[in-house]
């Protein structure tokens, strides 16, 4: 199934690390020093014994097709530093000729193989359709009430004028957001919170606030009329309001190239959201896989940038067809080895504009841009087409903006010359996430 000739790069391994501390600890274990009995199987697994401070070495196994990890150490990090170290060592030196797994590794690998082979959606209990329908109706009624209240709140805002908002403070909006949570419309709650922060976001805020209030209003209206909307748009509205996807989406098999992976932490620091952008190499379809980490723990799903997974991606209905869940995988991930083709700045904005037809609330659209030249500026950075005079601004503050460090890295890669950049292109500009230098197929994930 896999061939260990196509090993991952060290960056790709380190991308799996749940946090910085593990990354460093794993890096230190990535040499032959502490390891014994390293081996790998033809079916895509590696194992080894890692000498720690205790008398017994830790037993570490990694299933590369997952990837999934098993280690006898007490760490609750996932993958632990031993698994990372083992993968780093494998990435640097391989694991020798394919071999049979030793007993301690074989049992777990067999269990895993059995688990994966089981059909995915093994529905647990017979569905209580009548009960489900009643619950859905109750929830819809609560959302109806919430939407009515929110419309009232927006009308009050416009009646009194935005001018008072600068002094009004955030508390009122926080309360409205809490009401939306009570109404079981978390999507609306999030937008309301966002709206409340705009008056403190600097010059030009009234126009931005009007825009966001208007789009929220549009969503309220769409909710009321959701029964009459075309199926795709209706699904978008439901998911934007915050309902879970009701039906199974479309499954698409392709070789999916991982274009970016990054985490954002909610303002209260309690939830980590991991976004993973992929693109089908055959079909060209973009996909966004999300994973969430509970308080204090990073998300479990990790897909290193530059790897290609042959897999089925299950797209959720609505939201411009971006949201997907990773379905069955058919092979271990392998490095891509080519640079995806880029488009011009104009084409990038057109793609975003076209996607708004499916989802008018869409903030941005995934685009490979290039060749472009990064232009640093004290007031703002730009990415300019290598030919011509067009450029996209890079948002520096607010949602989706990246650290300055990543931008300097991008400038360093370009040296004033053209690069290929993957990122999110939206109404605020283009946020770079990954870059390729002209003479290399190695993607660089921007910090």
């Amino acid at each position: 199934m896999t061939d260990q000739g196509d090993r991952w790069t060290a960056e790709q391994v380190l991308d799996l690390a749940p946090d910085d501390a593990s990354r460093k600890a794993g890096g230190r274990l990535g040499g032959a020093g502490p390891w014994l009995q390293i081996g790998g199987s033809a079916s895509g697994s590696v194992w080894g014994l890692c000498k720690g401070s205790g008398s017994k070495p830790y037993r570490t196994v990694v299933d590369l097709t997952g990837p999934a990890y098993k280690c006898s150490c007490p760490s609750r990090k996932f993958p632990c530093k031993h698994a990372l170290g083992l993968l780093l060592l494998w990435s640097a030196e391989g694991a020798g000729e394919p071999a049979e797994a030793p007993d301690w590794a074989a049992q777990w690998l067999a269990d895993r193989a059995a688990k994966v082979a089981r059909p995915a959606g093994g529905r647990a209990a017979p569905v209580d359709e009548e009960g489900a329908r009643r619950r859905a109706e109750r929830r819809a009624a609560r959302i109806d009430a919430g939407v009515t209240e929110l419309e009232q709140r927006l009308a009050d805002l416009l009646r009194g004028g935005l001018a008072g908002q600068e002094q009004a403070g955030y508390a009122g909006w926080e309360e409205t957001a809490a009401r939306m949570v009570d109404a079981q419309a978390p999507g609306l709650a999030g937008r309301v919170r966002e709206l409340g922060t705009i008056p403190s976001c600097g010059p030009g805020w009234p126009a931005r606030m009007l825009e966001e209030a208007a789009l929220l209003h549009l969503l309220d209206r769409a909710w009321w009329g959701v029964a009459g909307l075309p199926e795709g748009l209706a699904a978008t509205v439901r998911s934007r309001v915050g309902l879970p996807a009701s039906e199974e989406g479309e499954a698409v098999r392709d070789r999916w190239l991982v274009l970016a992976q990054y985490d954002t932490v909610s303002p209260d620091g309690r939830l980590t959201t991991r976004r993973i952008w992929l693109r089908g190499l055959e079909g060209g379809r973009p996909a966004l896989v999300l994973d969430f980490g509970p308080p204090g723990r990073p998300p479990g799903l990790a897909m290193p940038v530059g790897l290609v997974l042959e897999a089925e991606m299950c797209f959720r209905p609505g939201s411009a067809g971006l949201r997907a869940d990773l379905g069955e995988r058919f092979a271990a991930a392998v490095p891509c080895g080519e640079v995806p083709a880029g488009v011009s700045t104009g084409a990038a904005l057109e793609a975003y504009g076209a996607a708004l037809r499916e989802d008018p609330w869409l903030e941005s659209w995934p685009v490979v841009l290039g060749p472009v030249v990064p232009i640093p500026g004290e007031l703002g950075w730009q990415l300019a087409d290598a030919e011509g005079t067009s450029a996209l601004p890079v948002p520096l503050t607010g949602g989706g903006s990246r650290s300055r460090g990543g931008l300097w890295q991008l400038a360093a890669l370009s040296g004033g010359g053209p690069v290929t950049v993957f990122g999110e292109c939206g109404h605020r500009g283009f946020t770079p996430l990954t870059a390729w230098q002209p003479d290399s197929t190695e993607p660089v994930a921007l910090a």
């Binding site: 401070s53 927006l154 416009l158 004028g161 009234p206 208007a214 504009g353």
Partner: protein, 526 residues
Amino acid sequence: MEKGDEGYGEWEELVAAALLGTDRRRGGGGGPTGSPEALLDAAAVHAVRRRAGLRPAAAHPRPAPAPRDPRPAPPQAAGRRLAQLLAGRSGAVNGGGRRGTAPDLTELLPQWLAAAARHGYRSPNALVPALLDAARARTDLRQQALALAGPRGLWLARMNPDWRFALRGGAGAGELPEVTDRVGVERLWQEGLFAERVALLGAVRAHEAAAAPRLLSTTWATERAEDRLMFLDSLRVGLSEGDEPFLEAALGDRSRNVRATAAELLSALPTSALAGRMAERALACVGPEGVTPPAECDAGMLRDGVVKRPPAGRGERAWWLGQLVEAAPLSCWRERFGGLGPAEIVALPVATGDGWTEELHAAWCRAAVRQRDALWSRALLGPASAPPAAGPGTASLAERAKLLETLPDAERAQWVAEFIRAHGLSEAFQLLGVCVVPWAGALGRAVVDALDTARDAGSYPWSFSGVMGLAERCLDPAEADRLEALTAAAQDLPDAAPGAAAYWAEAFQRLVATLRLRAAMLAELA
């Protein structure tokens, strides 16, 4: 929405209406914005239309492309290693004194940089910002890190105020004219900033030693005293007899510091006139018949850089004597002592007898270091196995380390190895610091054996953490296999400190891991 776009005026009106509030507008007469709902409806249409119809902006002026760096990038594995080392730079210290079994990545960065420089690599582009950050945080890394970052690093530094430091000092050398371009050199020397001029002087000196004093003389009279001092100091590199006329002239400088530096440089040239004058004075004070320190500090001595006032607590005659002997060429003593060699001279009763001994030996040590005289250094160091206090020269480890530096590499390592075999590790740290990395076989073995002995003695390994750290960085990586045997956790010896055996095993594991890491690191760069 931009000014001039279709619909921009209408949008402006909507924003104005929203700011004011529809209640206050109602009197103004209906329109699409009469009710809040109508206003929101209209704004929603505008918002989606604006987003869907966005067009690219006009590009700002592009940065000039970075100058080409002809050096190759290091192999991929080496680049990844550098990324790891740079990432480990911050917060590598995991609190507390105990370091565990993992190598300390921070300490390996200088070695990686030095090895990469030897191979003539440039930095991988993606790591240039991290290198600049490292150079900013650690001045000891600065020169190497900036050299590796090369022209792209300077190009980047020019755009980011955080990295302005990179444009100061010698690193600006990328901008220097060719040293053979007389007009360019002349112009930069006349008009350049201080840092550029220092860099230029260094480059000129490296190209043709004699050209540096020539360049200096053109503006010498107009330079500020502190600049004169810095320029003069830069002549230390490549010092030769050709510099004598310039230095001799500097003895008459207005600034005392400039005079002192000029005298020091001249005394390092044994054939200089100043060295001759100093020899004459010193020979008059010291001979087989005994030591008679100078009775006064005359104008000639002052001009030749002798400092008249001794530091507090020292007699002035001893102070003057020290300065004379220090600045006299060591070669003058053989004849004075009837053809004896340095070893015999330092052992003479005249030199060991009366109260001036210490003064005399200390001055000879300084002279040996300044004149880089291996013969005298060897004599003053004495046999490595002798107790430091009984040695002929100096008991100070710092002075001994300096003397050792004048010996050939192999001899230096041999001497320190013998010293460790005789006296253990407790005083070896400074001496090890001047040995060439990686340590020669005998030296490495002496250190490892001494560590093993220390373990058997039952003390904790952190009493030796300084030497341990040095060993991690300096032992030949090939020693790793031999060391493996020491990494096994042993039982505590009966009279050992509790738990010491486990800590020692851990320390040796870290040592081995670090050596293996260094071996891998160097192999990746090859």
